[in-house]
């Protein structure tokens, strides 16, 4: 048996022993698992970590012009921040009304620097279209969920 195989066998046995003494982590109750995680990584919110990892993964799919797969979408959806209420149209209108009535002067928008202006004769590439389509789908999904939540 090669050194590599011997090592693999030893590791398998150790895993069995670990599970027998400590039980596999996926079999623990939610409370205990959460508690142990907090003890191991007190500065990490697992939800935030997952949100960042799935957003990064989604971006890499979009950059390749690929559709974001269901499992990544599901992870994004499940880790959506819940502390901030999603904006509703009614809420935004109320905010605009209150700003207008409070006498806040309108924003003076500066023209974009030349380098940032869109070149009117430049055609969108297939990759650009795929990225825009992906973003559009995400916004549509977000809007749909917001409307569902509102109703």
């Amino acid at each position: 048996m090669s050194v590599k195989d011997q090592r693999a066998l030893k590791r398998k046995k150790l895993l069995e022993l670990l599970d027998a003494v400590f039980d596999p982590p996926d079999q623990l109750a939610d409370d205990e698992l959460g508690e142990l995680h907090r003890e191991i990584k007190p500065d990490e919110d697992p939800k935030d970590w997952l949100r960042a990892a799935s957003a990064k993964a989604a971006q890499s799919y979009r950059l390749r012009g690929e559709k974001v797969p269901h499992h990544v979408q599901a992870a994004l959806e499940a880790t959506k921040p819940s502390s901030v209420e999603p904006p509703t149209l009614g809420g935004m209108m109320k905010h605009v009304d209150s700003l207008l009535s409070s006498g806040v002067p309108p924003l003076r928008l500066q023209p974009a620097p030349v380098s940032l202006r869109k070149e009117p004769d430049k055609e969108l590439s297939e990759k650009d279209r795929a990225i825009l389509e992906g973003l559009w789908n995400e916004i549509s999904n977000e809007k749909r969920h917001t409307e569902e939540d509102d109703s």
Partner: protein
């Protein structure tokens, strides 16, 4: 493999992350060179990232059990086979030299735990009973309870304390 959003409806994503971090930590305690020089966080992160970047979610099917179990087993397999750190762009794996000295640490793992728990006889009893079972772990809690003459509930409580001892760095 075709996937659908329905497949992921019942996934508890927090449990997935938490179980991976806990397992990676356990392995790092068991073998100092668990991930060939990288940290236990690297191992947990790598498995989750691999899953997210796989277009079909590593072909996980709920029929195979919960996602946290599937990915924990994936992590175990990576570790058994000798984990290799991948470059950022997921190209060729970077080979790490095998340190034979590190392998000795596996065998010493339970000796180390026992030394750390020498003033907690009831926890030591559980470890020693598991060792007596010698690989026959089908109904481990019942067997351990029988061996040390206590109830299954009591074995479960002691195991809970053992888990805290291992993760809470009290050893």
């Amino acid at each position: 493999m075709k996937t659908s959003p329905k497949r992921y409806e019942n996934v508890d994503w927090l449990r997935v992350r938490e179980a991976l971090v806990l397992r990676a930590l356990q392995l790092s305690r068991a073998c100092d060179r668990v991930v060939d020089g990288a940290t236990f966080e690297d191992l947990a992160d790598q498995v989750m990232t691999e899953f997210l970047l796989h277009p079909d979610g590593m072909d996980w099917d709920p029929k195979k059990g919960p996602l946290e179990m599937f990915l924990r087993k994936t992590l175990d397999h990576r570790w058994v086979d000798g984990w290799r750190r991948h470059s950022k762009n997921e190209q060729a794996p970077v080979e790490q030299p095998v340190n034979p000295q590190a392998e000795l640490e596996h065998d010493q793992f339970f000796e180390m735990i026992k030394r750390a728990l020498e003033d907690q006889g009831d926890l030591l009893e559980v470890i020693e009973a598991v060792e007596i079972l010698d690989g026959d772990y089908n109904i481990v809690n019942q067997e351990v309870a029988k061996l040390i003459g206590t109830t299954v509930k009591e074995v479960e409580n002691r195991k809970k304390r053992l888990r805290r001892a291992l993760t809470g760095l009290r050893i």
